[in-house]
């Protein structure tokens, strides 16, 4: 394959990937819910485009580093999952994708929820802060906060190591429970 043709194929594959992702995203707001058949076909096209993109890149630069998530985006091509359980492709994804980025939104089905949870835990704080904290994710008001509330006149002491004995714990718990019960 000549360099120009490979580039054309590459560009075509990228364009199709971009179009597919925007269709997948748009289908979430479609009336009647996600269509499984359509989502499946979209994911198949995305997989073909991704494969062609990779192979054309390989033919372009055979010694170039291939992004590791090449295997991770299996999710891109596989089942689109139950309707209404398709999480949005992450907002940070740009339409002009590179394979590394397709890995992220590709987890478009329930099976990947576990992986997502892991990612959240391992994310750096900077990433975590980008997550919008909607009302739903904030702790409800009626539950006791994790920090015990101080009575007026009390001061907070740094807990000495090893002092977390049952006794101390009990009194703290008793304090918070006292606050909880009236709330109910």
């Amino acid at each position: 394959m000549s360099a120009t043709t490979a580039m054309e194929v590459n560009a075509e594959a990228r364009r199709i990937l971009a179009v597919s992702i925007s269709k997948l995203y748009a289908s979430r707001t479609q009336r009647g819910g996600l269509r499984l058949h359509r989502s499946l076909l979209l994911s198949m096209v995305m997989r073909s485009a991704r494969d062609i993109y990779h192979s054309s890149r390989e033919s372009e630069a055979p010694s170039g580093p291939q992004p590791a998530p090449a295997e991770e985006p299996m999710e891109v091509g596989s089942g689109p999952g139950e309707q209404a359980e398709l999480p949005a492709p992450q907002p940070e994804l740009e339409p002009a994708v590179s394979p590394a980025e397709t890995a992220e939104p590709g987890s478009a089905e329930e099976g990947c929820d576990g992986e997502f949870a892991e990612d959240k835990e391992n994310r750096s704080p900077a990433r975590q802060s980008r997550k919008r904290r909607g009302k739903a994710s904030a702790a409800p008001d009626f539950l006791p906060s994790k920090r015990a509330r101080l009575e007026p006149g009390e001061e907070r002491y740094a807990a000495p190591l090893g002092s977390c004995r049952v006794g101390a714990g009990e009194s703290l718990t008793a304090l918070s429970l006292n606050r909880v019960i009236p709330a109910f």
Binding site: G33, H37, V45
Partner: protein
Amino acid sequence: MKCFSRYLPYLFRPPSTILSSTCHTEADIISTVEFNSSGELLATGDKGGRVVVFQREQESKSQPQRRGEYNVYSTFQSHEPEFDYLKSLEIEEKINKIKWLPQQNAAYFLLSTNDKTVKLWKISERDKRPEGYNLKDEDGRIKDPSTITSLRVPVLQPMDLMVEATARRVFSNAHTYHINSISVNSDLQTFISTDDLRVNLWNLEITDRSFNIVDIKPANMEELTEVITSAEFHPQQCHTFAYSSSKGSIRLCDMRQAALCDKHCKYFEEPEDPSTRSFFSEIISSISDVKFSHNGRYLMTRDYLTVKVWDLQMENKPLETYQVHDYLRGKLCSLYENDCIFDKFECVWNGSDSVIMTGSYNNFFRMFDRNTKRDVTLEASRENSKPRAILKPRKVCVGGKRRKDEISVDSLDFSKKILHTTWHPHENIIAVAATNNLYIFQDKVN
């Protein structure tokens, strides 16, 4: 190849449409058309959840010209939009399919379905009403029984014909995915409803339970590679049905083998031609419709570019393949971008299984004569629709030089698509749905 002409009134529209065809609401788009088994009635369903039933006029000696026109017989709201609160999903009211039950008494019965619920409707006529009660006074107030001294038996008097549609059964809560087809069994007691992953068997009398007879949902949804696109019962064998898949294959199943028909007894698939492979090979091989022939010996399937006729005795390749609009093969990328590649065209047999018909773009529809191997492209449009005019065959120009009457591929209007067509069971009468307009064409009368 017989010519097709048109009879008055040549153009039907669902009652609430605005006159101009370019200005219509989305709810008026016709989503299914179906003749009943005698051809006397024609039902259409639309995106707004309405069903309109047309009835053929009786032939009258005084007006031989007006032979068998179809007039509106009944209109009713079959499905309403619903909301699934558990999944936060709106359920569209669009009628996906209508199937008639064969007539067994004076009333007519049909099944109509949206994405989630199948309903059995009874359409019956009332042309008499009882009159002569002496239980109420002129104002309509019930009389004091002590003032009534005589017994008057009411008499049935003729009244203006009233056609009423009542929902007799509602078959709901059996489908997680979107219903794509329904099919009535030849035993006239059961029917199947099919969604993307499952086929359910119902008894027409029982609405609170159904049997799941096909389930292709994988344990891990990530491994999903194909979905069911359509299913139909065999016209004579009540134990046989076929279902088509998004991968271009058809499975024939026998319900006597096992309760769960996951193992097919026949598997029809044509190996893919590697030379035509593209990004969109999977999409265009997805089967959008499957229909048994009336004689039960053949199956017809429609994928994006072709119609195929399969012999039930030969699984490895189709008996016949017809190109519907092969000139679109080079345009698949743009058709993908404008979503047209996802259009689901239906296909239909004529009564004698000698001619097959399917729709295309630009309000074109195609007919293929299986015996003479001739085909014709016709257009459903108001400009060409003069009463009793013969439809002129159309031609799409694929090469460079365009002849006078030809239309070039680039001039085709992809927003005008004919997805739904139906053929009268005995006569050469066809109904073609073009967006919100219904065209009924009849064979030329000598």
